[in-house]
């Protein structure tokens, strides 16, 4: 234990970890909750920490570990340590453990900072631990690779090489997703709204793969050293076998598109969280309880603005929630920091009827200059509600005015009939005169 503490105190890994801690704390504190896509969502928060730790800190710590492990070449201690009673694997494991513990210290700091930010926004406390476990394990593998390189090769260039190698690997994987590398070296850059939860089984398999591969990797340089320093074959073979099994299991697992490899859809909640006003209702996942005040205000606005219009969707369900049959719509909640304005806008869009046949072809409208009639319908609904809408040119504007400047009763009757026709995949009725 004392030797480990000495190694931690005197090794280069502590400086790398301190630098990463400073960079990471800045990264996790600099973002505004109002613009964030993770502050307020626990799984997304864990993913963010995992991603930063693996791509940035893991690469740097791998380089630091390679540099530290190469000290026996730099300081000419190899002739001396080659006569040791302790095996080469143990010697490498000491470096690995020291660097990993420093990484975990910085990692714990990131977790504390990121979790505190989410806790300040979210009304529930449901941290997702498995992405964090996976991040810690992946860093263990990255550091082990650094130690293996540094212990095996006398060149000082191995340290920057180790860092660049990992960073480059993650960049390459990001550009070519869906490869086995993506599964074996996970840096999960995904967006999970409240309908998703971590795939615990896969993450535990991946953590097993990373940790066993890391331990086995640290043994490799010792295989090239004096026979008395070589690792015992049985534990090494056992580790390699577990790593191989876990790794090949990960590679062989498939996920139906468009779901994520690392996430599963959550079970339906016992009670969805709903905000109702008049005939308009919005239901959210219980995890998004903190959005309820904004949801209530948005629902009230939408209900007032849509008024007595029929044919539009008036019941909205956050993505992933089971919807009852009828005029209901899915509402994608894209951020844990949705405001009343963004929710209102999303509700207006979701209120528009969708054609029942999924393969319904658009109906271009001559009066709008060839734009689909659904465009005109949406613009008319939005204009009626006083909400901003897209501008498609003068001709389109004239057509829109024919709807919106018509007497209210005539306008609303046109909108009601148009909604029914759009749902039935038919062209909208003739525009009011």
């Amino acid at each position: 234990m004392r030797v480990l503490l000495t190694e931690m105190r005197r090794g280069e890994a502590k400086w790398a970890a301190a630098l990463m801690a400073a960079v990471g704390v800045y990264y996790f504190t600099a973002e505004s909750p109002a613009d964030s896509d993770w502050i307020g969502w626990w799984p997304q928060t864990s993913l963010k920490v995992q991603l930063f730790a693996v791509i940035v800190m893991g690469s740097v710590m791998s380089a630091a570990a390679a540099w530290g492990a190469g000290r026996s070449f730099r300081h000419r201690t190899r002739p001396w340590s080659d006569t040791a009673a302790r095996g080469g694997w143990s010697q490498a494991l000491l470096f690995w453990l020291a660097a990993w513990l420093w990484s975990l210290t910085a990692y714990a700091l990131f977790v504390a900072v990121a979790f505190s930010r989410t806790a300040a926004v979210s009304d529930v406390t449901e941290p997702a631990w498995t992405p964090l476990l996976l991040g810690a394990s992946m860093m263990a593998l990255q550091i082990a690779a650094g130690v293996a390189l540094g212990s095996a090769l006398p060149s000082r260039a191995v340290a920057p090489f180790a860092g660049v190698f990992w960073y480059g690997l993650f960049v390459a994987v990001a550009f070519v997703p869906g490869t086995p590398l993506d599964k074996l070296f996970p840096a999960i850059d995904e967006f999970w709204s409240s309908e998703f939860a971590p795939n615990t089984t896969r993450m535990l398999i991946a953590a097993t793969w990373c940790l066993t591969a890391a331990l086995a990797l640290t043994a490799l340089p010792a295989l090239r050293r004096h026979a008395a320093l070589t690792p015992r074959p049985v534990p090494l073979a056992a580790l390699a076998l577990v790593a191989l099994t876990a790794g090949s299991t990960l590679v062989s697992l498939r996920t139906p598109v468009p779901d994520s490899y690392w996430a599963v859809r959550k079970d339906q909640p016992a009670h969805a969280l709903c905000a109702t006003s008049g005939t308009t209702e919005l239901c959210l996942w219980p995890e998004d309880r903190h959005l309820l005040p904004e949801a209530r205000a948005a629902v009230k606005t939408v209900d007032t603005k849509l008024g007595s219009l029929t044919g539009l969707n008036r019941a909205f369900y956050a993505s992933g929630l089971k919807r009852p049959p009828g005029a209901t719509a899915e509402l994608p909640v894209m951020s844990p920091a949705e405001s009343e304005a963004t929710l209102t806008d999303a509700l207006f869009s979701a209120a528009l009827p969708q054609p029942e046949p999924a393969n319904c072809a658009p109906h271009p409208l001559r009066e709008t200059g060839g734009y689909p009639d659904t465009f005109l319908f949406e613009a008319a609904v939005r204009t009626r509600a006083g909400a901003p809408s897209e501008y498609y040119g003068e001709k389109f504007g004239h057509a829109l005015e024919r709807v919106t400047r018509a007497p209210h009763a005539q306008r609303d009757a046109w909108l009601d009939r148009a909604a029914e026709r759009i749902r039935a995949c038919r062209p909208v009725p003739e525009l009011p005169r």
Binding site: V3, H75, W80, S81, T83, A85
Partner: protein
């Protein structure tokens, strides 16, 4: 020097080759307790012989027996290494470690039990009179101090056999005198095999001496016996006498060659 029962280390007919160069050619030697000097010019095979005794290298042919056991087999060699201390010729260290930390690290490498590591490290530093520098960084030590820490790490596991490769190289005269006393004291505790090309070291420190020339052992015996070789004509043990004995052997070897 025969293979008496008291020998701590024995090499029998060992041959080592580096490519086409023969570093040791059928050398048979035994090392009893006390300080034994390996005397010879550069390239004579001294360091190679020490590497065999430290189990860092295996002979191409012949056998090495340490502490009564053949130095073969992974587990046996690991067990033997518990009881061997080594100070290589180019002794590197980790400059950021303190003296105590470094000695403890050496104890860890030698598998000294965790509960005894600190105590053993302090004892070893006390032996080499470096205890008061225990908290000083290794990078801040002078050459002489560094050599003392080198001895401390070599004895931290209470070895039965200590191997020192050119331990006085690079030391100033005052440091060398102090260092010889230290090695002499070490010889009272365990068997010490010390390679050197300095006749003075042999004269002042060693109980026995082995002269290696061109990979073969040309002389084994007490220092007095080396000094009394006919060509030296000396009866007193001194650096000059050792040197004369050595030159006699070297001359004889050259004439034979």
């Amino acid at each position: 020097m025969g293979n008496g029962p008291k020998a701590v280390a024995v090499a029998e007919g060992v041959t080592v080759r580096y490519g086409t160069t023969t570093a040791l050619d059928g050398v048979s030697l035994a090392f009893p307790p006390g300080v034994t000097g390996l005397l010879g010019p550069n390239g004579a095979g001294k360091s190679t012989l020490l590497s065999l005794l430290s189990t860092a290298r295996k002979p191409r042919s012949g056998t090495v027996t340490l502490l009564g056991e053949p130095a073969t087999g992974r587990l046996r060699v690991q067990r033997l290494r518990h009881r061997i201390g080594v100070l290589p010729q180019s002794f590197g260290c980790y400059p950021r470690f303190t003296v105590l930390e470094f000695t403890e690290y050496a104890a860890w490498l030698r598998k000294v039990p965790a509960a005894r590591r600190r105590e053993r490290a302090r004892e070893a530093l006390r032996l080499v009179q470096m205890e008061r520098y225990a908290d000083r960084r290794m990078g801040a030590l002078s050459g002489g101090m560094l050599r003392r820490v080198g001895i401390a790490q070599a004895v931290v596991n209470e070895p039965a056999l200590v191997l020192l490769d050119e331990p006085t190289v690079g030391l100033d005269p005052a440091q060398r005198v102090g260092f010889r006393a230290l090695i002499k004291e070490l010889g009272d505790r365990c068997a010490v095999v010390m390679s050197t090309h300095l006749a003075e070291d042999v004269a002042h420190v060693c109980d026995r001496v082995c002269v290696l020339l061109d990979g073969t052992a040309r002389f084994t015996g007490t220092v007095a016996e080396l000094c009394a070789l006919p060509a030296s004509g000396d009866t007193e043990i001194s650096g000059t006498a050792v040197e004369a004995g050595y030159l006699h052997l070297a001359g004889a070897a050259a004439a034979a060659g």
